[in-house]
């Protein structure tokens, strides 16, 4: 009894103490935490000026050192032939040089080739001159036969992701030790761009013979660095390759790619000095990072896009013939045009992404050499006119649309802003968030009315358009079907003149913008943050972070 009494009095005392102090402590803590959080203002954003490199310039290089880069996603198998992960390119960039690369202006330049390809008058024979006196990391000599073997592997290996990128090749021949000849059944202009990506990474024939399908477990190529180890889910480490032909311009001892999927944590690791480079910085963090002493930010417009795919005829899944869906949204181009006119892209990008991203109206990036006035044209933002168009079409206003989106915070914030924006134009957008893998499934099966997803982008516009917009295309999720667009894109892929191709793609985009199977919304910018204790980091329009010639530099 006495124990019980004492306990109750003790509890009472404790209770009073808690009532008085706990809220005060909690409130104080909350204020402290909030006050210390960095706040980003919209005005601080640099309105899209590309910064593609942190040059070494006249800074003093500290030779050696181990650089750690925070990578936002885990690469898949490190085999350029089968890889389908964009993040694999980040790691391979330092280990596997390509026949061609892109430069800061987005132009294709030779890398392991000595010149751009020579294409015959009929467009059916492509000749590529290959660098001499270059060896792979295992000491095997790089020659035309090795290049031909790599391309052959891309065409024939089961599970290759490169087949469609290489086009209708009929033969690949090593004419002599430094010349490769590729023969086509019909002209295929996008080859050079494909060879500036994984299809152009030349693999050591000796390593291929030894490892076969297991090549990706320890890849051997020509590169500033060579593979050391991969700890699944954790890291991939590469070390300086003394056999590299340009070894004197390689300064680091090792590079470790540490996989850190959360953007906030990547930023925190950069600030704490645990990593020196971090990719895909969130637009929420980049403002405060850019203002932090000792941290710099590289940014470059992506070649890809984010868009709203509208289901026009994808009834039985991609790969099956399109069938009329029968809904007003699918059958009435006017409604889709009204929807596009209801989207204030500038305001959305400004409010949701603090202007770090750019509005987009077409699948061709303005930074691409294939961009034209036609491809950059945009639907006029006019919600009043959009509403009138809906009323004229005789449909219910507000017109209901269900949009499926990935359930990540950035996408949801954008979806909510879009929902509010199009309401003014007479649309009632319902957001249906689903997990990313499910969204891919829904998209392929055609089980959606509208769906918000993006495309990371390719150097050649063929890779950003053909499969998505051609009848029966492998990524034609909308079920779009327009023979005129098909013909224009096919013709564009068969000519080699850049201006002529740009014009043809521009014409195709004009038609696409009338039909609106995809309403293009915005283009992300690749935001890469780095410690100013290093220099020589570069990132170009393909988004890949180049570290081959990076170096630690002495503090100024």
């Amino acid at each position: 009894m006495s124990t019980s009494h004492s306990r109750s009095s003790a509890q009472k005392t404790g209770s009073i103490v808690r009532k008085t102090w706990v809220p005060i402590v909690a409130l104080g803590l909350a204020f402290t935490v909030t006050a210390c959080s960095p706040v980003q203002t919209v005005d601080d954003s640099p309105q899209g000026e590309d910064v593609t490199s942190a040059p070494i310039g006249d800074q003093t290089i500290v030779e050696g050192g181990d650089l750690v880069m925070a990578l936002s996603a885990e690469p898949d198998r490190l085999d350029p032939t089968t890889s389908s992960s964009l993040y694999t390119r980040y790691v391979m960039q330092t280990m596997c040089e390509k026949l061609y690369d892109i430069d800061a202006s987005g132009e294709i330049v030779p890398m392991l080739a000595t010149e751009l390809p020579d294409v015959s008058a009929d467009g059916l024979t492509v000749t590529i001159p290959v660098k001499e006196d270059v060896v792979f990391a295992d000491g095997t000599e790089l020659d035309a036969a090795a290049v031909a073997g790599t391309i052959e592997r891309g065409l024939t290996l089961e599970g290759s992701s490169r087949k469609s990128e290489l086009g209708p090749i009929t033969a690949v021949t090593a004419v002599d030790s430094s010349t490769v000849e590729i023969t086509y059944s019909e002209p295929f202009a996008p080859l050079t761009a494909a060879l500036a990506d994984r299809a152009g990474m030349v693999l050591s024939p000796a390593a291929l013979a030894e490892k076969g399908d297991a090549f990706g477990d320890s890849p051997v190529c020509v590169g500033a660095f060579k593979f050391v180890e991969r700890v699944p889910q954790t890291s991939i480490t590469v070390e300086r390759d003394p056999l590299y032909y340009d070894a004197e311009n390689v300064h680091l001892d090792t590079i470790t790619y540490r996989i850190i999927t959360d953007s906030n944590i990547r930023s925190a690791n950069l600030k704490s000095g645990d990593v020196q480079v971090a990719d895909t910085i969130s637009t929420q963090d980049v403002g405060s990072l850019a203002e932090t002493d000792g941290i710099g930010v590289l940014q470059v417009g992506s070649l890809g896009y984010q868009g709203l795919t509208l289901n026009l005829g994808n009834v039985n899944g991609v790969g099956t013939p399109a069938e009329p869906l029968g809904t007003p949204l699918a059958s009435e181009a006017t409604i889709r045009e009204a929807l596009s006119m209801s989207v204030d892209r500038e305001a959305l990008v400004s409010s949701v992404f603090s202007n770090w991203y750019s509005p987009a109206c077409s699948p061709i990036s303005p930074s691409s050499p294939f961009s034209s006035a036609a491809s950059e044209a945009c639907a006029e933002y006019d919600p009043a006119a959009a509403k009138e168009m809906l009323e004229a079409a005789g449909v219910t206003v507000p017109f209901p649309i269900t949009m499926q989106v990935s359930n990540n915070p950035d996408t949801l914030r954008f979806a909510q802003a879009l929902q509010a924006a199009v309401a003014e134009g007479g649309f009632e957008l319902t957001i249906a968030p689903v997990e990313y893998s499910t969204l891919l499934d829904v998209q392929t099966r055609g089980d959606f009315e509208a769906l918000q997803l993006g495309w990371s982008g390719r150097v050649d516009p063929h890779g950003n358009m053909f499969n998505f917009l051609s009848t029966g295309g492998g990524n034609n999720y909308s079920g779009y079907n327009n023979t005129e667009v098909d013909d224009l894109m096919t013709e564009a892929a068969s000519v080699n003149d850049v201006d002529e191709r740009a014009d043809l793609y521009g014409q195709a985009i004009e038609i696409v913008q009338e039909d609106n199977p995809v309403i293009y919304l915005y283009r992300v910018r690749s935001l890469t943050a780095y410690s100013t204790g290093i220099a020589g980091v570069e990132t170009f329009a393909d988004g890949v972070v180049h570290l081959s010639h990076a170096a630690f530099v002495e503090a100024e």
């Binding site: 005392t13 102090w21 389908s84 964009l86 599970g159 889910q233 999927t261 906030n264 645990d274 997990e435």
Partner: protein
Amino acid sequence: MTRYLLTRLWQSAITLILASLVVFIGVRQLPGDPALAMAGEEASPERLAEIRTQLGLDDSLLTQYVNFIGNMLRGDFGFSTRTGTPVTDLIATTLPVTLWLSAYALVVAIVIGIVLGVVAERFRGKWPEWFANGFALIGLSVPNFWLGILAILYLAVTLGWFPASGYVPMAEDPLGAIYHLTLPALILGTGLAAVIMRQTRASMIETMKMDYVRTARAKGLGRGRVLASYGLRNSLIVVVTIVGLQLGGLISGAVVTERIFALPGFGKLTLDAVFTRDYPVIQAVVLIITVGYIIINLAVDILYSVINPKIRVGGSN
């Protein structure tokens, strides 16, 4: 006893078969196509068809299940569809990380919880008790992921006391491993520390009012000695029980902590496998956890039967 053991083993085998069936079907009921997850944005119908053939997804469910069981029995868990790494290697590298992290967090939780619990009892109504109560409130109510981010910002970024990420295997560099695991263990152990603190405090308050404590004090034993030898020692029984009950929560809480600190643990492996629909990894991981539970339950049942023969009789009936 032998009969009882055989019965329990037989029951465990049935449970395992049923569990494998549930895992197999459950994984295939997840929305989302593993071939699509593997092909990523470069999926084309032809590529998807190839991947499905490679993964054996074109086979009938029965064939897939028989292959799955056959491979499992041979100790072949297959390869990760995402990275091509053998699943056994993945498990062998990730499981120790989670076990070390959980063990470290347990030590942290016990030390912090008991010290704060004793302090709270010793200084009742004074600021140390308010501090301990405040800690318990935060530990119980603030989620791990938020606490983890704050810890990284202040302890790693601002003060630079701990690394914000990274892991060194214990076998390679024990000190380095402890250094890298300290912050994650502190965060993971906070919740359990709060529970232990509350239990220790409550139990100590009860114990210190017991007659034998008064007698000890009356015989002239110092307050500190009484607190340690009588109060704490008798309160620990409750604490040990609570720790046992909370252990499962600690290991499942490691999933979040591993993700925040980019630790290559078992929890992160499971989560990543689910997101990428990596069937072989999900199946193996879930099955291993199931086997673990079955073995622990079996061991506990057998121990009970050793301690109390009545259970043995009941079991055989």
